[in-house]
Subunit: 281 residues, 4 copies
């Protein structure tokens, strides 16, 4: 009956928004709902950093009104000689941080053999842009019950992206958040071309929550704030950004990372824009 190649992800199958919910966790934690009337902000360093830096970052997120922290334990790196992440140790550090701060966390999984371990501890499992069509990995996270943040592939169409969500859902996991993070075009003034058109397009095709990552999407810190405002203005449910107490000293992605002052400024602006379009934050 559907005219689309995907079924479970389609608005034709389910007309109300899917709410992806994380129950309260750790000390003083609160429930987080993706896809509801509130805009959710996710922030954190690219890679899991020292305990001190992670705690400083968690405090800055909570202070500014962010709801969840992001950080990579397993890192996909173009070069085999680049830092590959802290692995299981990074996961433990994130779990301890959650216990202490009440802040749930999102982290990436890259290998089918790690899915069980990561899904058990993380609040949201991220599938990175390079793995959007790693169908073995999609099936594996589809067999867990942990929410999945599915990043759009570097050069994948919106239809292919929804088909990848369908892989996860068809394997039993309905908790998928789609995350636009920039596509590859000829333009060189930005690292990628953040495709905000995807936000309203997705809203006409699917009931799944839509996130936008302007840090990876643009590649430069000074572009993150205006593009985050634009993302909220066109309907994004979630904004995910990279922050660090000293971006220049970040293990990775420093040139696209906000410091805490810039992050706080962005949060104030996003609240105003959210209010202007009848949403809260």
């Amino acid at each position: 009956m559907s005219s689309k190649p995907y079924k479970l992800a389609s608005l034709e199958t389910r007309s109300e928004p899917t709410l992806v919910t994380i129950p309260p966790c750790g000390r003083g934690g609160k429930k987080v709902v993706f896809g509801g009337p509130g805009v959710v902000v996710v922030a954190g360093p690219c890679s899991v950093e020292s305990t001190e830096i992670m705690e400083l970052t968690a405090a800055a997120i909570k202070k500014a009104g962010g709801r969840i922290i992001r950080a990579g334990a397993f890192k996909p790196r173009t070069s085999p000689y680049a830092f590959q992440g802290l692995g299981a140790q990074g996961l433990r550090r994130l779990a301890q941080l959650r216990e202490k701060t009440g802040l749930p966390f999102i982290t990436e999984v890259m290998d089918t053999r790690d899915v069980e371990m990561v899904a058990e501890v993380a609040d949201v499992v991220q599938i990175g842009t390079r793995n959007m069509q790693n169908f073995s990995l999609l099936k594996a996270v589809g067999r867990t019950h942990t929410p999945v943040l599915l990043k759009r592939g570097l050069a994948n169409t919106i239809e292919e992206w929804l088909m990848s969500a369908e892989y996860i859902m068809a394997n039993g996991n309905p908790n998928v958040i789609l995350c636009e993070r920039g596509i590859r075009t000829y333009e060189r003034a930005t690292r990628n071309t953040l495709d905000l058109n995807a936000v309203p397009v997705l809203k006409t095709l699917t009931h799944l929550p839509v996130a936008v990552d302007p840090s990876h999407g643009t590649g430069y810190t000074h572009l993150v704030r205006p593009m985050a405002r634009a993302a909220v203005a066109c309907g994004a449910d979630v904004i995910m950004v990279e922050i660090h107490p000293e971006p220049a000293k970040a293990i990775s992605d420093g040139q696209q990372t906000q410091d805490f002052a810039e992050f706080a400024k962005m949060m104030t602006e996003l609240k105003a824009v959210a209010r202007a379009i009848g949403r809260k934050m």
Copy 2:
């Protein structure tokens, strides 16, 4: 001294915003300023239509707070067999409408031989996307004093775009407005990929006003409103959209054209977003 290949267009040469001003014209006309604190909305049909339709459209624009009308007299069409526009007759119709309504107009010029005629009567001359690197045409409009709206080429970089503005400025005309209207990518869910990243990027490179055309940029009416909101949120000075009393009956571009109700709804939303970021409209 500048590290950029363009000089006159560069923020390094001039640090305050360029204000492109249209003096009051026709009955009850008001001054229009592009690039100042106010966001300016330009609207109108793709092609010049009947006098009745043009007057209805002008009334709808004024009622909703738009400041200037757009319509094509000379039309660039992919097919030689498609309607090529009303030409000089279309220009006369636009001039009469301005006299009667006080609404200035933007219209495209495509041929160096027509530049003098069009620049004399139009308030703003548009260089279309297919002519962004038609250097003969750029030189010709550069030798007039009429403001120029320079659309970004289908697959041109921001740097090339600024170089084209430089052609106009180097020939004596400083009144250039840059207009993002979607770039060509692999994505097929939208007709083009509206590249809003260009807005904050341009703001760090140039003092020229920046316009966004979400009608051509997305190709579908239902995407125009959210993307116009996003354009204002990330800093656009001008929003240009296609409107028509009955889009399905428009001579051209009906599938991306708003009717008056949709346009009015957009205007209300844009005012709210502009206010949220400290601008007016």
Copy 3:
């Protein structure tokens, strides 16, 4: 000392061509060398088909001068509802075919958990375009001794591709063949844009053998023959095509698959072009 971000894959590290060799196998099998003076042709159906079809295909390959068969046991499919391949049964069928015909085979691996099984039986393991930056998978095949055919990602640069080869080599496996298979562009007349420029570019950067797949690269059978000729003319070491006794009845990819007559015609043409540029086949 190298100015490139990859080392083992670089011509600066090793100046002679890498020869990837498959020893004789099965009944009457002959040694196959990729990267030497001879151009090697790989052919076969998209998916492993019935024993009868596989035997007919093997015979057609041998008759026309092809040296190795390709067929997918594990299939990466955009839709979770599409045929996912025969899996382990498909591998057994390919091994039996090799035993009977002496034709070695190339087949894809998609999951780190399957690498050991596939690498043990296949003569060449393929990493598909969607997994070019599946770093876990690259590391896993890098720890085997089986030659790897590494397809270029849909929208990956040549430099990123060489970095992925570096992942395999840095983990201990020097036997990498690079395979151009079309990149994603705005053009819609072809399914992908086969980027033959990559062939001479790679020849100036790396010592690894270069393959070209004009079936996936163009997406249409009638374009395969001319583009295969062009690939040989600009220096490809390997040509890989999809063939089937009745393309219209193929399990997958029928519209880009040659029948045996077309394949034989192509082989005659490729031999003539190879000779014209001083190579053999």
Copy 4:
């Protein structure tokens, strides 16, 4: 009756190849036919250079078997501050060279006001990549009888390109040669991505001759020779390259220009490839 949006350019309207013919001219000149069994090679500097350099180049072309010279009198340059060509003086120099050497010439026209002047003296008029959809210019050259070499736009589809040819033909000029010169993609290892797929695609859609320009298509001298071989191998009727006695001293485009030795080597290779596929040169 045609299912295509273009008519005169379509194979459905005319099934035999269009032969674009230049009659013998100057001292010892010979007829040149584009689109027949012979592959035609066009060569020359980017811009018209000194009389001495032009004569040296003409001699090198004739010696190696080239049939026509190319050089720009009016130059489209991204920057208004770059050399804009010799204009009418360049045209006179080309006409004198033809008189003396018998070599006809191709040169670009950029302005509708110059069309009459250029079309009167040039043997083939070029429409450059940035003007492929300059419809005023297409109409103007369509009203002359001079053959037109129509370069593909930087990011135009093959269908749009044929529509532009249709503009010329619908205005009365059937002598159109299509020239592939590289499209804009994300890849940065080449200046553009020469899309050879366009050659066999065009051969199934149109009766017009097809040229390939590997100099602009790749942007680097060392890639010109292999890609020229590939172009002949997949069916190109014309190869157009940039040559200069001392590329490093060329007024423009030196990094993609062959010297005479490289050009002669290419010519020998192209003859061998042409012969291998049953054509002559």
